[in-house]
């Protein structure tokens, strides 16, 4: 996973416009270290030259990188729009390219359900999961559930309660993660193509049933997930009823890349 994250960082940090931020952060750090003496002015005058001289090799990069990363976060905190505007032109096409590369689109109008998760609301622990083909192992299911929950938490914080209908969906290109919240658990379906309206309703109904059947398990939830496994066939049935397989397997890597991008960019924008 860390490779994709590193790539994303490259995208975020590689841009020239950050050179200035690097410089400022470096000066700030130096200023603090020297506790503002006459040498600061001297140094400040020299610094641009030094950095310019060093910019042809990478020797300054390791030292500067953490500072630059945190400077980026701070800038986002001051005015998220500045960075958001700056990165979307870079990230948007990159996401679309990776989707095009990993996902050969089927005939339009098709709809495919690849995963359905039911996730415990408070802990973000996956309670039961169905997948059409064996893409994700247990560990990946746990991480994806966590990432979906992290995304939900900053979406929730950035919108008024009650304004959330449908806003929790994630949509990038042809891939939609449909998310329906319930009182104790959330249902999330990873789909491709245009979801029929009935499908969302069916997700809600399944989640209601789940709450009814597992009311007492959910009330005393301590992390044990065995009690919820009998619900999996119900999720499989949902998929069979609605999914018109399009012959293309959803790329697990793509799912991870998408979630990581949303978690990192979302967190950076909302933080």
């Amino acid at each position: 996973m860390s490779d994709e994250l590193d790539e994303l960082r490259e995208l975020l940090l590689g841009a020239d416009r950050l050179a200035i931020a690097r410089l400022e952060a470096r000066i700030d750090a130096l200023e603090q270290r020297l506790e503002a003496g006459p040498r600061v002015d001297e140094l400040a005058a020299l610094l641009p030259k030094v950095i310019e001289k060093r910019s042809t090799d990478a020797s300054l990069d390791p030292g500067l990188q953490p500072t630059v990363e945190r400077t980026l976060l701070r800038s986002v905190e001051d005015d998220p729009k500045v960075i958001a505007d700056a990165i979307y032109p870079v990230i948007g096409p990159a996401i679309r390219r990776s989707i095009a590369a990993m996902f050969s689109f089927g005939p339009s109008g098709g709809f495919q359900v690849d995963h359905i998760f039911i996730i415990e609301g408070a802990t973000s622990v996956p309670l039961v999961h169905y997948q059409r083909s064996e893409d994700l192992d247990e560990g990946a299911v746990e991480m994806v559930s966590g990432m979906l929950s992290a995304i939900r938490s900053f979406v929730e914080e950035s919108f008024e309660a009650g304004q959330l209908d449908g806003l929790q969906d994630l949509r990038v290109g042809d891939v939609t993660v449909l998310v329906e919240p319930g009182p104790k658990a959330v249902i999330a379906a990873v789909t491709a193509g245009v979801p029929p309206t009935r499908f969302r309703e069916q997700l809600q109904i399944a989640l209601e049933e789940f709450h009814r059947e597992h009311e007492s398990d959910l009330r005393g939830f301590d992390g044990a997930v065995e009690p919820y496994q009998p619900f999996e066939p119900r999720l499989a049935e949902l998929e069979r009823r609605h999914g018109l397989a399009r012959g293309n397997r959803f790329s697990v890597l793509l799912l991870f890349v998408l979630l990581i991008i949303v978690v990192v960019v979302g967190a950076a924008i909302i933080l």
Partner: protein, 162 residues
């Protein structure tokens, strides 16, 4: 199987991501990449014959200008509060974060004195003593030398199933 969410909090650069990397991937990276938002990782453990899956939320460092939002801590079953042994001043942020974590959930807390390879034993002992009143246990670790890391995660995992 039991699934437990645990969190790591602390000042920037104390080694939260390195602890997870050591525990999950069994390796160390000398390069520092500050965490943006949260990283989620996991590892399975067997504790007293019980399969426990730790879902680990590695949260960005907190400082004066960037605080950890409580919503990241929601639903956790245990929490690491991490300091850097070579920067005792990181205890201050650890103290603030411990308060915030306890306000979200009264869960087991383990204080971690990381980077013990950079200081001598006396300094580790001093920091540990300062942290002792704040947590259920204080554990000393070095991600570089791979000491104490597994013990710390195992201790917290055990505490979460209590």
């Amino acid at each position: 199987m039991i699934r437990k969410k645990i969190c790591l909090v602390g000042a920037p650069g104390v080694g939260k991501t390195s602890l997870v990397r050591r525990f999950v991937e069994r390796r160390f990276e000398a390069d520092y990449h500050s965490t943006i938002g949260v990283r989620i990782d996991r590892r399975g453990l067997e504790i007293d014959g019980q399969d426990v899956s730790l879902i680990i939320w590695d949260i960005h460092g907190e400082d004066e200008s960037l605080s950890v939002r409580s919503s990241y801590l929601a639903g956790m079953a245990g929490c690491f509060v991490v300091i850097d042994a070579s920067r005792p001043e990181t205890i201050e942020i650890a103290t603030t974060l411990r308060e915030r974590a306890l306000a979200v959930a009264a869960v087991p807390m383990v204080a971690v004195v990381n980077k013990t390879d950079l200081v001598d034993e006396a300094e580790v002992a001093l920091s540990s003593a300062r942290l002792a009143p704040l947590a259920d246990n204080v554990m000393a670790t070095s991600c570089l030398e791979d000491t104490g890391v597994d013990d710390a995660f195992e201790f917290l995992a055990r505490a979460t199933i209590g």
